[in-house]
Symmetry: C2
Subunit: 205 residues, 2 copies
DNA sequence: TATTGACTGGACTCTGCAGTCCATTTATGA
DNA sequence: TCATAAATGGACTGCAGAGTCCAGTCAATA
């Protein structure tokens, strides 16, 4: 807890633990995450694990942070192009394709975590909340740019539309997991895009 | 497995087990469900539990079925009035209020289950899928009636809109759980309603 | 009333897993 | 080169929870 001093080697080990843990979560779900499994795959001893993390809960929070930044970083090149509808459409396609490749299993890497968290793990929940906030911010920024540049008419509220996109994303991914099909996700996001299309400034003619 | 013969007493015991189990899930989540807890609260012995269920997994599937029918039954009076926009609006308010009362915790009683299921529990997943299907069907039926009666213009696809409502519901509830606030849910559902409002036949004037 | 099978009680086993402990190794910097 | 602290290995503890076993009870029916 009180920020243990880390050497370069120590930091690497810690990082390896977190990475392995989040990989295992991606494979088997947070529920099935066992510290022994983490140790085995990360080639690390129990002593090391508890040298770097005070408890299982601490590791879970760290791993959650890792998943959030990983998911967001992966999309950052796409986020940079969210200032046109084509860019937004491309992002949608990429997200759908990503989950199609994964066999439409597991839902949202971030969103699926909340219900698997221990009741009372406020730390991890806060991390997830911040993650969605950032996700929404990226979308909002793109939309705001479109409004400012006149691509979208100013009846569009970027923050509001961004929230609806995040909700469509999460709802779509949940149903994707239930039905093992990405059509739900695609439909949900496309519906939001369709709505935006109706507010293209050029369509105002 | 091969449908054990149940007496009246046996059926009551079995029912009690399932009810208690789903109550415990509502309180602490599926992840935290322990068979010992179930036995204790249901005033039932281990022997009884395994007399009625082949395994923990079998109980989970049964409990999932119970949750699904409970959630759907609770809404059936509202489902009956889904053939007007006012009825739909009332349903939305009721859903939002329901989750507000629960402290905006736990997300959707049904939807939150999938990510907590054992990977490979296809039986329970199928139950959930059927549940969402029914939920969507109820919404679709209301919308279809509105289209037929001319309340909504026929550019509205009832099945499509019903799916989008279910997605908004699930996404909204997931974010509700993350942020401990129902505004996400309300916003998501209201947005769908708003869209429908634009297609009211009377608005075509 | 005797037999059969559902039903019940609860002790018991076994295992997987979180967390502890401590001895040993490695690095560094005074 | 010696002291110190980080880093590591891994055996060990303790427990909770799934699943077993079997002896005993209840109820219907022949």
């Amino acid at each position: 807890m009180p920020a243990p001093v880390l050497t370069t080697r120590g930091a690497a080990t810690r990082r390896r633990i977190v990475t392995v843990a989040s990989d295992l979560v991606a494979e088997k779900g947070l529920v099935q995450l066992s510290l022994d499994d983490v140790c085995e795959r990360a080639k690390v001893s129990k002593g090391q694990l508890y040298h770097y993390f005070a408890s299982r809960g601490a590791l879970v929070t760290a791993l959650t942070e890792h998943v959030v930044t990983e998911v967001l970083d992966l999309q950052s090149p796409l986020f940079a192009q969210l200032d046109t509808l084509a860019g937004l459409q491309f992002w949608v396609s990429a997200v759908v394709q990503y989950h199609a490749r994964r066999g439409a299993r597991g839902g949202c890497p971030i969103g699926s975590l909340i219900s698997q968290l221990d009741r009372g793990d406020e730390a991890s929940r806060a991390v997830i909340a911040r993650g969605f906030q950032q996700w929404g911010d990226a979308l909002e920024e793109g939309l705001a740019t479109m409004v400012r540049s006149g691509h979208l008419d100013d009846s569009i509220d970027p923050a509001y539309e961004a929230r609806l996109l995040v909700i469509a994303l999460e709802g779509g991914l949940l149903l994707t997991d239930v039905y093992r099909s990405t059509i739900w996700l695609r439909e949900a996001l496309d519906a939001r895009l369709q709505h935006l299309r109706l507010h293209l400034a050029s369509a105002r003619v």
